[in-house]
Symmetry: none
Subunit: 401 residues, 2 copies
């Protein structure tokens, strides 16, 4: 039995509340000078106090040695094994700009590109036009109807955009138009499976009309499409966990992922304070909150150890506001490690802190990688985070008689 099926068979709605606070890329590596990681360097009296009263551990997001991408990291925290629950590239790009994909929609990643008078691709990225120009060009193409199918064209960044098709009978089994190299024409879009012929024809119709609309817009006088895929059909958290789940995230990608697992998305501002204020205002309406904090990962990716430390300290300073809501369970963790010394995601296990009045306490007196490595939760797979949160909020029935 899949873990989600097990949990679904045991979960029951209660009045208790869970907060899952995700500090993106939280895990780190030591500064060579001090021997302490970002989290261990940060002055975090509030998190340390929670560690003293709670229990800690280390989680593997995918498995030992495997560095997770952001979508894999979050799916794992939400209890969805990322080796089993996949998102197609087009759908992920749509999710990444918070586009509300519906079941049956087909999404593709798009590039504006440059073509010469013979139709050969001269620049796959159209000279990396700026995002404003991308937005203008998407406006020219957005909203067509072809074969009773509505086509949405929305900007991502620079030369990148998404195409989403909505209508009856669409199938994702069609080939890319993007040949992934220059000096050749785009590929004709063909069905890989016979039942996708209608979809391929619709895409060909779109490409034909887009060519006409873009004709005078060199360097962006053509487009390329790849990664056709559907909205993944994941079990909803409302159904698996019987929760009323809400997401608070400043970045569109994380709102998009939360939407895919059935969370409601709460409007918020751009800072941690805004997110905590959104939590306070909406606290009575839901029993599960996913709060996403991006700054830790961005600082790690930039190799800025000090800034990552500061983001953690800023968060720590306002933790009392969050705790003021008196959640029955609070989990503080990350979706992967992003050590500043590596300037990128890494495979190192991620510290986790769980607070609840039903915790079995461990000896941890602070929240940090070293303390967590001997914490009472031990080292475990991230897909068990939700099971533990549900258990500690007494939302899971006994298994077996």
């Amino acid at each position: 039995m899949d873990n989600l099926e097990l949990i679904k068979s045991l979960s029951q709605p209660t009045s208790t509340k869970i907060i899952l606070l995700v500090l993106d890329g939280l895990g780190g590596l030591p500064d060579p000078g001090t021997g302490k990681t970002e989290l261990e360097t940060a002055r975090t009296p509030n998190l340390d106090g929670l560690a003293r009263g709670g229990t800690t551990g280390l989680i593997d997001i995918v498995g030992p040695g495997i560095t997770p991408g952001s979508s894999a990291g979050h799916l794992s925290l939400f209890g969805y094994d990322p080796l089993r629950y996949n998102i197609g590239r087009g759908a992920l790009e749509a999710v990444g700009i918070d586009f509300d994909l519906e079941p049956g929609d087909i999404a593709a990643r798009g590039n504006f590109c440059s073509a010469d008078s013979d139709g050969l691709i001269t620049d796959r990225r159209a000279g990396r036009i700026d995002t404003g120009e991308c937005r203008r060009l998407c406006g020219l193409l957005d909203g067509m109807t072809i074969n009773n199918t509505v086509l949405f064209v929305r900007p991502v960044r620079e030369h990148r955009f998404i195409l989403v098709m909505r209508g009856e009978g669409l199938k994702p089994d069609i080939g890319d138009s993007d040949p992934q190299r220059e000096g050749v024409p785009p590929r004709e879009v063909n069905a890989i499976e016979p039942e996708a012929e209608f979809t391929a024809e619709t895409v060909r119709g779109f490409i034909g009309r887009a060519k006409e609309s873009l004709a005078g817009n060199h360097p962006a006088n053509m487009l390329l499409l790849r990664g056709f895929s559907t909205r993944p059909d994941f079990p909803a958290m409302t159904d698996v966990y019987r929760l009323r789940p809400a997401a608070i995230a400043t970045y569109p990608m994380y709102r998009g992922l939360a939407r895919l697992v059935g969370m409601e998305i709460l409007e918020t501002g751009s800072g941690i304070e805004d997110e905590f204020e959104t939590l306070r205002k909406n606290y009575s309406g839901y029993d599960f909150f996913f709060i996403h904090i991006k700054g830790t990962d961005s600082a790690g990716e930039d190799g800025d150890f000090e800034r990552k430390v500061r983001v953690i300290e800023d968060l720590d300073r306002i933790m009392p506001e969050l705790m003021h809501n008196r959640p029955d369970v609070l989990v503080v963790t990350g979706d992967h490690s992003t050590p500043a010394v590596l300037k990128g995601h890494s495979w190192h296990p991620v510290p986790v802190l769980l607070c609840s009045k039903w915790c079995r306490p461990d000896g941890a007196i602070e929240f940090g990688e070293t303390a967590c490595s001997s914490g009472g939760l031990g080292r475990f797979h991230a897909t068990s985070i939700m099971s533990l949160a549900m258990a500690h909020s007494q939302k899971l029935n006994k298994f077996g008689a």
Copy 2:
């Protein structure tokens, strides 16, 4: 997805180098007098220094409570789940004498035995003839061609030998001739599956001719065969990990296992110094080295606590020669425990030490079972050793977007 498939989808060749140093049967149990294991008793300043700079843990080779054989132990360390990747008994015996099995070959274990004038077996082991006599008898039988099939007969030890058949259309699905008891004649070798009839007929032909050759050689005047099996078709490490892997081992069994997973076998001498010298000479030609040290296991099997301690100390003394190569990742571990007090393999988890500049350090200040049990790698399955080594040498791409 199988772990090997996952790793294969993520691995990339780089210039970094990994050394996997296996001390056979490394794990131990305490001497009742001192409360310290063999590894904890040994004076190991170099390994302790590596533990201080690196990270440690404990590995389960098959699973908690399961005592592994040597082949299961090594396959697990190489990343091949021993519950899934099997080696037939005949193939294992061939591997054990370093016989270079080719795909399609069929191998069997053989015994020289004694038979009376009625053809009834009077001694299944032919009075345990010595290995020299075994070699002479194998020489009488080696190299026949029957049904266009070449038959190799090679000595193992005492009355034991291997038969390997090489030709077209051979199948391993044939029954044993060995009845596993005395006072009865050997069984006729029959096909278990119809397509193995040709193979069975070839074996019957061999047995007929062998009987004639052995007729005057009492007590070894007959032979018994069992465990017909093919060379296992394991994914190659070159393909899964995209490594150029080399093996340095003084015992044929470990060279044979390394060959089965696609390692190149380097000629070496009989001592640890010889093995380290082989490493030094070949260091530029490969990016993965498996070095096998047998003495720890042999001493444990003999119940010789002190000798096992000495082998570990001898190894420790020359560790600087190995570290002089400056590997990007060094893993020191064992393929199972062989506690001297048990005089045999055991199920106890095995200490592991991983050194790399990308380690997250733990508090370990020495390399020993107790220190490892609170090490930063935690307790994990041996099949993750290679994933961790690959990650720490930055040979694995990110999983998912």
